[in-house]
């Protein structure tokens, strides 16, 4: 029952998210009809960081686009913004690595391109299919997407978190193996307890008798997800990237689980897939059951991927949506704005606590389901 409940959670979150975006869009639409002339200005203010401040300063009644605000913060970016306001922003430029079909490999810092400049025929697209991504300008003015291997904010955050995680675990490991018989105190004791809780209450019962072989992998998956979830909740520098709410990240995680499940599956498991224990007509001329089973192989990790991605992204979106209440109500007078600010802060703090819980639960669920799938791929056939 618990599992079922958790699988519905991302859907509920997405519905809430969509509802809030839709509601805001309606407000936007109503405002747009009142101030027709603003439209041009609105589009410019969408890219607050990319535009020159002089243009926005002249417009006191500028509009705040919630959808753009949220999507901008959920999406990956080429630089790592630390602080930003209308007039200035501090950000860490990250390396851009591109391979153009016409001019080969390129490597430069993102600071050359993020302010809206063209560099070596590349620029960041403002609209259309490749909005926010680096495109190459073709000879006919069309935008072509080169092979983009840039070390983006998410990639840099991933590398940093991996470094931190490795350092933490190496430290804990060294401290434990230095005096293995001693009970540990402080952070090492906490980590040991945490690791052993995951090991004993998730991995051991779910995987079954071969659990020792898979425990390190599953523990790594758990702590990788949990650590990155927490880093994503941190609003300042080493955190702040929407890492586990990015589908590429969860795709790799799910893929690794898929590989582990299917590369170490037992003979009994593969027999169940290709020649399951059902009436022959279900598998002989037309392999209905094997097809269903093979589809099932892919839906399991796919569900893992979508669940983690949607939960974390949804959490971030709700936090951002609640925070943007402050900016939406700026034009509605001081009383409403200040009261809404308080409401928004209260809600945001509440959601933050909820997200702390979700950070753990999603790591837990991903590990638990991976363990169960691995355990299922280990079992022997029922008859032998």
């Amino acid at each position: 029952m618990k599992k079922l409940h958790l699988t519905y959670k991302p859907i509920i979150l997405l519905i809430v998210l969509l509802f809030s975006i839709g509601a805001n869009a309606q407000v936007d639409g109503a405002n747009n009809t009142q101030t027709e002339g603003d439209t041009a200005q609105v589009e410019e203010t969408n890219d607050l960081t990319k535009e020159m401040p002089s243009q926005t300063e002249s417009e006191p009644q500028k509009k705040f686009d919630v959808k753009e605000f949220i999507l901008h913060h959920l999406a990956d970016s080429y630089e790592w913004q630390l602080v930003s306001s209308e007039d200035w922003h501090v950000s860490i430029p990250l390396p851009v690595i591109l391979r153009s079909k016409t001019s080969g490999w390129h490597l430069f810092l993102s600071s050359k391109i993020t302010k809206g400049d063209h560099y070596k025929g590349f620029k960041i697209s403002h609209e259309g299919k490749y909005q926010g991504k680096i495109v190459e300008l073709g000879s006919d003015g069309s935008e072509i997407r080169p092979l983009d291997m840039s070390l983006t904010k998410n990639a840099a955050s991933l590398l940093l978190s991996s470094l931190f995680l490795s350092l933490i675990f190496m430290g804990v490991s060294r401290s434990i193996s230095r005096a293995p018989m001693e009970g540990k105190k402080g952070f090492v004791g906490l980590m040991e307890m945490f690791i052993m809780t995951v090991h004993d209450s998730i991995i051991k019962p779910s995987v079954g008798k071969n659990y020792k072989k898979y425990a390190p992998f599953l523990l790594t998956v758990f702590f990788f997800i949990f650590f990155n979830n927490l880093m994503g909740l941190l609003p300042i520098f080493p955190g702040g990237a929407n890492v586990t709410g990015n589908i590429a990240v969860t795709l790799v995680l799910a893929m690794s689980t898929f590989l582990v499940i299917n590369l170490t599956g037992s003979r009994g498991y593969y027999k169940e897939v290709f020649w399951p224990d059902v009436p022959v007509w279900l598998k002989a001329p037309l392999p209905i059951m094997p097809i269903i089973e093979i589809v099932g192989l892919f839906t399991k990790p796919f569900a893992l991927m979508i669940r983690l991605f949607a939960n974390i992204m949804g959490g971030h979106a709700i936090v951002l949506g609640l925070l943007s209440l402050v900016f939406i109500t700026v034009n509605m007078g001081t009383a409403i704005n200040s009261s809404m600010t308080i409401v928004s802060l209260l809600f945001t703090v509440f959601i933050f606590f909820l997200e702390l819980l979700v950070a753990f639960i999603q790591a837990y669920v991903f590990t638990l389901l991976s363990s169960v799938f691995i355990g299922m791929a280990q079992h022997e056939t029922h008859h032998e």
Binding site: Q131, D148, A155, S173, S177, L219, T220, V252
Partner: protein, 167 residues
């Protein structure tokens, strides 16, 4: 929607980051932790088993000790009983012996006393005879110093003889 399409660049970096983390954690970090905890667990299990065994052994030892104690007590009581019996016997013997001896000594003493008594009586008798002779001598000497007295004496003696003679 760009949020739902994985970026190849990020896929690449994620694979590298996750791969490195997996490698480091699986190869270096986690096995010592798991091993150490496993070691500690088996150690604790073994210690518990050992403690149980030791406890059982201790109980056994205790039982043995108790039975030993009971036996010793029994033996002690027996020994005490025997000792007191022996003591009584010895006392009895000693008493008997002492009685015999004392009787013997008393017998000898009685005999000696008897003979001494006889000797003493003899000597007393001699002394008394001597004394009575001496006394008689002295009295006679004194009383018969005058003639008158001598006559008186002779008369009295004659009277006495007369009185007793008819018998």
């Amino acid at each position: 929607m760009s949020l739902l399409t994985p970026e190849p660049g990020l896929l690449f970096w994620m694979s590298i980051a996750f791969g490195i983390t997996l490698f480091i954690l699986i190869k270096f970090a986690l096995p010592p932790i798991l091993k150490a905890v496993e070691k500690r667990k088996t150690y604790v299990d073994e210690s518990i088993l050992e403690a149980k065994k030791v406890k059982e052994e201790l109980e056994h030892v205790k039982e043995i000790g108790e039975s030993l104690l009971v036996e010793t007590r029994k033996q002690q009581a027996e020994m005490i009983k025997e000792a007191s019996k022996i003591q009584e016997q010895m006392l009895q013997d000693a008493r008997e012996k002492a009685g015999l001896e004392s009787e013997k000594i008393i017998g000898v003493a009685r005999k000696q006393i008897q003979s001494e008594k006889e000797i003493a009586l003899q000597s007393i008798r001699e002394e008394v005879a001597k004394l009575s002779i001496d006394l008689t001598e002295k009295i006679l000497k004194e009383e018969l110093s005058t003639d008158k007295e001598q006559m008186k004496m002779i008369d009295r003696l004659l009277d006495e003889i007369e009185i007793t003679s008819p018998q």
